[in-house]
């Protein structure tokens, strides 16, 4: 397989000449293969958007280089942009224009657009193209961004936080669109700070933290370290807290009247066996954010956490640690 996107020691430091230079990205070595969907994960401020802006030649690297289709992103930006679709993390379009007029404008800039395909995409996303941009909600703005990114049938998609603002149903539609796109042998590079949002579609994920690439792993490996926050609400005050705390995979348990909240990884059945010894009124499961999973995985200093759970430790061994 060919690397469609490749970075070599890519580094970006802001304010180099100032007293407090800030390195947003440090020596990033990354390769996204043809036909794969790679998730680019990291907490806010990790350097994901900086990387994407470097790939698109919006900002220039302090050192290192990046290539797309084997071509340098600085020297061949126009040629590269002809074959890629891009969705920024915050899509700001001209508020007084209608979505349709923007689609036509962008389409002309790309040398023409297949309006049938545009309407097909709009239908898939349940998006009305006739309104002015200022009338759209955040979710709808993501939808027009997706249409703009996909409408020229690019070979590579670069999407910055594509699912933020999309409702769960639309996330499913988005996932299907990405899998269809991949089925055509095309490549997707998408960033997110929520692992759960991208784990369904990504072949591999790379994790960035404090501007450094920590890990590149398959989703199967990474989901082992994933955990959830569970809140159980009982009809009566909690009497089985100690039994719950002893269930394998349960951590950080706290009781508040009729409710008990804890972190959990691993399988559910042992938990359910214990949890249902009292009458359960409600059960709320919240996906851990990437940051939470990451902190559990590496600890706050970015090194492997000595207090990490056995399942997390097991997963850590399975991960392909790049550095």
């Amino acid at each position: 397989m060919n690397a469609m996107i490749q970075t070599e020691a890519l580094t970006k430091t802001y304010g180099e000449k100032s007293k407090k230079p800030f390195t947003a990205l440090s020596n990033l070595d990354l390769a996204v293969q043809e036909g794969e969907i790679m998730g680019f994960l990291g907490p806010n401020g990790a350097g994901k958007t900086t990387t994407i802006r470097l790939l698109l030649d919006f900002i220039r690297p302090t050192s290192g280089r990046a290539t797309i289709f084997g071509k340098d992103v600085r020297e061949h930006s126009v040629e590269i942009h002809r074959r890629i679709g891009y969705l920024p993390s915050e899509l700001n379009l001209w508020k007084n224009e209608t979505a349709l007029s923007i689609i036509r404008y962008i389409g002309k800039m790309r040398g023409g657009v297949d309006m049938k395909y545009v309407h097909q995409l709009a239908e898939q996303l349940e998006f009305d193209v006739t309104k002015r941009i200022r009338a759209y909600s955040t979710g709808n703005k993501r939808k027009i961004g997706l249409i703009l990114a996909l409408m020229n049938r690019p070979d590579v998609l670069i999407l910055d936080e594509p699912t933020s603002g999309l409702d769960p149903l639309m996330q499913q539609v988005f996932n299907r669109m990405m899998l269809d796109f991949k089925a055509e042998g095309k490549t997707v590079f998408l960033s997110s700070h929520v692992l759960g949002e991208v784990q369904e579609i990504c072949d591999r994920v790379s994790i960035l933290r404090h501007g450094k690439l920590e890990t590149v792993a398959t989703v199967q490996n990474l989901t082992h370290v994933d955990f959830r926050w569970i809140t159980l609400t009982y009809r009566e005050p909690v009497r089985i807290a100690s039994e719950l705390a002893n269930v394998e995979g349960v951590y950080d348990l706290s009781v508040n009247g009729n409710s008990v909240k804890f972190r959990m990884s691993g399988e559910f059945q042992p938990l359910l066996d214990v949890a249902t010894r009292q009458y359960v009124v409600n059960m709320n499961i919240k996906e851990a954010t990437l940051e939470e999973a990451f902190l559990a995985f590496y600890g706050d200093n970015g090194k492997s956490n000595g207090k990490a759970t056995s399942s997390i430790k097991k997963s850590e061994r399975e991960l392909e640690v790049v550095k």
Binding site: L56, F58, R60, V78, L93, W94, M109, L148
Partner: protein, 271 residues
């Protein structure tokens, strides 16, 4: 692909041009209606002028009292003397729209993710706003012709005089747009660029006026740093346009745009 940004900019901004054109046209027609109807009618006007100190006259842009005592001198002073300064506001807004506004609100990312080189964005948008500026001047010219028709008993100049005088304003608008484009590519942020470009326009105007107040040679020479000194717009209707000055301003405008392209090509796009 060539020309798409240019056409799109015209499509989105032609209404701005119309509004500005209407404003300037109303001013032009009003000035003709304010023209004194007889030589005696100038008496009140002359009295006001004579009561003013020479320094104060220079402050409002009058260097030669006799020059404004004629109908064409009056129109030149009252319309052409201030139109360029008023159009400076349009020029600054237009110049900011070339890069700073899109960069500030994030839509520049969308444009630059397309197969379009950065210099295209600067060139095509700058050209489009210069064309819109010329559109305002066309409307101003039409208003002057209409105004002159309503005052044929007081002023009777050939139409070419108005035409050349209006054309003479063009380099002034162009240099203000191009200077703002250059400033915006350095400053990046719309608000900062607006302040600096506004200071450039108003500062140039004041430098031209204030330097004219002094007899000191060095201070007098300083006025040549102001592009207004190459325009002498109040006398354009009577004295015509200096082609050399107009060419000089156009060349400086081109240098500004070249500088803007160089800056924009080399630097990071603001987030």
């Amino acid at each position: 692909m060539t020309g798409i940004i240019f056409i799109e900019t015209l499509r989105r901004s032609w209404k701005q041009m119309i509004y500005w054109g209407i404003g300037i046209s109303v001013l032009g027609i009003y000035m003709f209606s304010a023209l004194p109807s007889s030589p005696e009618g100038y008496e009140d006007f002359i009295k006001v002028i004579e009561e003013m100190k020479p320094g104060a006259l220079k402050l409002v842009g009058v260097t030669d009292i006799a020059s404004i005592m004629t109908p064409e001198g009056f129109i030149g002073f009252a319309f052409f003397g201030y139109t360029l300064l008023i159009l400076g506001v349009f020029a600054v807004i237009a110049g900011l729209n070339v890069s700073a506004v899109d960069e500030d609100n994030g839509s520049m990312d969308v444009v630059l993710s397309l197969p379009v080189p950065r210099w295209h964005v600067i060139i095509e948008k700058t050209l489009a706003y210069c064309v819109l500026g010329m559109g305002i001047l066309v409307m101003a010219f039409i208003s002057l012709v209409i105004g002159a028709q309503t005052a044929t008993d007081r002023i009777n100049l050939p139409i070419e005089k108005y035409l050349f005088a209006v054309i003479g304003l063009a380099p002034g608008i162009i240099i203000m747009i191009c200077a703002t484009v250059f400033i915006a590519t350095i400053m990046r942020r719309r608000s900062t660029a607006a302040v600096v470009a506004g200071t450039f326009v108003v500062g140039s105007y004041l430098l031209n006026i204030l330097a004219g107040l002094t007899n000191a040679e060095i201070a007098g020479q300083l006025r040549y740093l102001s592009f207004f000194s190459y325009m002498d717009s109040p006398t354009m209707l009577t004295n015509g346009v200096s082609l050399v000055s107009a060419m000089a301003l156009i060349i400086i405008s081109v240098i500004f745009v070249a500088g803007a392209i160089r800056m924009f090509e080399r630097r990071d796009i603001a987030v």
